[in-house]
Amino acid sequence: MSLTETATQVVVDEEAKRLPKELSPDQLARRRFYRNPTAVIGVIVLAIIVLASVLAPLISPYDPSAIDLESIRQPPSPEHLLGTDSTGRDVFSRLLAGGQVSLSVGFLAAIIAVTLGTLAGVLAGWFGGITDTVISRIVDIMLSVPAVLVIIVLAGVIGPSVPLLIGIIALLSWPSSARIARGVVLSLREEEFVQAARVLGSRSGYIIRRHLVPGVLPPVVVSATILVAEAVLLESSLSFLGAGVQPPQSSWGNMLNEAQSLTVLSSMPWLWVPAGLLIAATVLSAMAIGDGIRDAIDPRKNK
C-alpha cells in the first residue's frame, strides 16, 4: 500500500473523530424542516385536527345527527359548546363528524391521486417512448378538463356520495402529481447514479424502487399536501354548488354553506364560523407543511 493511501486512511479516521458527523441531504432537509416554525405549527395544528376527527366518536358530546326540535339555533352554551343548528343538532358534534368526512375526502383523494400519479409519472419518465407519449397525452387531456364541471356531472350521474367525491377528485388530481414525478424522473434519469445503476446491471424494477421512487417522493409529498388543501376546498365549493356531500351527512363544506343565508351569516355565527375556521386551518396547515418540505428539500437553500 502506498504512502498516499495510508495517509488518506489516517485522515478518514481522523476526520471521523475530529469533525462532527456531516449530515446527509435528507437529514439536512429534516433539520431545515424542523427549524421552520410555520411548518412545525402546521404539523401540530393538522395533527390536532386529524386526531380530533379520528376520535370524534369518543369525544362527541352528542350524536351528530340527533335532532332536537325543542332547542334549535341555540347560541353556544355549556350544554352545546358551539350551539345548535336549525334542527337542534349539536354543532360541535357535527363539526367533528364533518371533519371525518372533509378530512377523508382530502386525505384519501390526495393519497390515491399521488399514488396513481407517482406510478404513472415514474413509468412515463423512466420508460419514455410510447409509454411516455400515451401517459403524457392522457395527462394533458385530464388537465384540460374542468374539474368542477366534471364532478358536478358525475355526481349527477352516479348520485353524490363521499366515495364518489374522493374517487373523482383523485381521478382529476393525479395528473399534476404525474407531471411532477415525470419531471423528477426525467432529471433523475440523467443523474449519473441512475445511469451507473444501469451500467452495473441493475434491472428496471430495482432502479425504480431504489433510485427513482426515493427521489420522487419529497416533491410528490409536497404536491400531496397541496392536493389535500385543494380537495378540502373543492369539497366545500361543490357543496355550495349542490354537488358535494349531501345533508344530513355533515361536512365542513356544507356546514359553511349555512352562511349562504343572510340570517345565519349575520346573526348565527356559531353555525358557520367554526367550520370556516377549520377549513382555513386545515388548508393553511397543509400548505405550510408543503412549503416547509419544499424549502427543506430545495438544494439552493443550503445549511
Partner: protein
C-alpha cells in the same frame, strides 16, 4: 414556427374531439330522461305520452344512441351544438348570449389579478423575508384557503348590506345600461375573482423573481453599475416568460371561480347557465358548456405557446 403551430393545432383538435366524445358519453350515462323534465307533472295520461313522443322526435332522442352521437357530431362539425332541452333555443345562441358578461368578468379579474400579483410578487421577492414579504405571503395564502363563495357572501354582507357602498348583485342597476353603472357593479365580483387569481399567481411571480434575481446575469447587471430599477426590469422580463404559461394554465381555475361567483352575484354569464342546465339536465347546453371550456383551455395553451415564442427570443429565433 409554422410547423410547430400546425402540430400543436392538430393535437389540440384531437384533444378537443376526445373531450367532445367523452362529454357526450358521460352525459348520456346519466339516469333519467330529459324529456320527463320537460313535461310538467300536471300533464298526464295520453296527453303526456303524445307530448313526450313529439318532443323525443323533435330532439332526435328516439334514435339509437350511436345515431344520436353521429347526428350530434355532424352538427358539431358545422358549429351546430343542437337545441336546449329546456327552452328549445340554439345552444350556440345561449352560450353566445352569456359569453360577453363572463369574458368581461374573467378578463377584468385577470387584469386586476396581474396588476396585484406582479408588483406584489416583485416586492415580496426583492424584500425577501421582510414584513412586506410575510404580509403578502400570508394574505395570498389566506385568500387561497378561504373558499371564494364564502368570501363572496361575506363581502355582500359587509359592503352592500352593512356599509351600503356597493351593489349586492347583478350587472346593471334597474333600468341602467351605462358604463359607470356597469363598473360599479363589477367592483365586488371582479375584486374577489381578481384577488383569488392574484393569490395564486403572486407565489409564482415571487419565486420566479427570486430565481431570476439569483442568476448570474442579474449580478452582472449590478456589476455594470445599474440602479435597482434597471436590475428589476431585467429580472422581471425573464420571470414573466414562464408566467405566461402559468396564466394560461390557471384559466380553467379562473373559470371555475367565475362559475361560483356568477352564482353568488347573479352575474348573467356562462356559469349561471351551466348550473341551471345541470339542474335541468339540459344535456345539449351542458355539452356545449364543456366544449366551450375545452376550447378556452386549448386556445389558451396555444396562445401561451405563441406568446412564449414572442417573449422568449430563445424560442423565437431558434434556427
Amino acid at each position: 414556427m409554422l410547423r410547430s403551430l400546425t402540430t400543436r393545432l392538430s393535437s389540440s383538435v384531437l384533444v378537443f374531439l376526445l373531450v367532445a366524445v367523452g362529454l357526450f358519453t358521460l352525459v348520456r350515462l346519466a339516469p333519467g330522461d330529459p324529456i320527463d323534465m320537460m313535461v310538467p307533472p300536471e300533464v298526464d295520461g295520453a296527453d303526456r305520452e303524445a307530448y313526450t313522443t313529439a318532443l323525443r322526435e323533435k330532439y332526435g332522442l328516439d334514435q339509437p344512441i350511436f345515431v344520436q352521437f353521429f347526428r350530434w357530431f355532424g352538427g358539431l362539425m358545422v358549429g351546430d351544438l343542437g337545441y336546449s332541452y329546456s327552452n328549445g333555443q340554439p345552444v350556440g345562441q345561449l352560450l353566445a348570449d352569456r359569453l360577453g358578461p363572463t369574458i368581461l368578468l374573467m378578463g377584468s379579474a385577470l387584469l386586476l389579478g396581474l396588476l396585484i400579483a406582479i408588483p406584489g410578487g416583485v416586492l415580496a421577492a426583492v424584500k425577501r423575508n421582510s414584513i412586506a414579504d410575510y404580509t403578502i405571503s400570508t394574505v395570498s395564502v389566506v385568500a387561497i384557503a378561504v373558499p371564494s363563495f364564502f368570501l363572496g357572501m361575506l363581502s355582500i354582507y359587509i359592503f352592500a348590506v352593512r356599509l351600503r357602498v356597493l351593489p349586492s348583485a347583478g350587472m346593471h342597476g334597474s333600468g341602467r345600461t351605462d358604463v359607470g353603472d356597469l363598473l360599479y357593479h363589477m367592483v365586488l365580483p371582479v375584486c374577489l375573482l381578481g384577488l383569488a387569481i392574484a393569490a395564486s399567481l403572486i407565489r409564482y411571480v415571487r419565486s420566479g423573481m427570486m430565481e431570476e434575481l439569483s442568476k448570474d446575469y442579474v449580478r452582472a447587471v449590478v456589476a455594470k453599475g445599474a440602479g435597482p430599477a434597471r436590475v428589476l426590469s431585467h429580472a422581471l422580463r425573464n420571470s414573466l416568460i414562464p408566467l405566461v404559461t402559468v396564466i394560461a394554465l390557471s384559466i380553467p381555475g379562473v373559470l371555475a371561480g367565475a362559475v361560483v361567483l356568477e352564482q353568488i352575484f347573479a352575474w348573467p354569464g356562462m356559469g349561471q347557465l351551466a348550473i341551471a342546465s345541470l339542474t335541468n339536465r339540459d344535456y345539449p347546453v351542458l355539452i356545449g358548456f364543456g366544449l366551450y371550456i375545452a376550447v378556452v383551455v386549448l386556445a389558451c395553451n396555444l396562445i401561451a405557446d405563441l406568446l412564449y415564442a414572442v417573449v422568449d427570443p430563445r424560442v423565437r429565433t431558434a434556427k
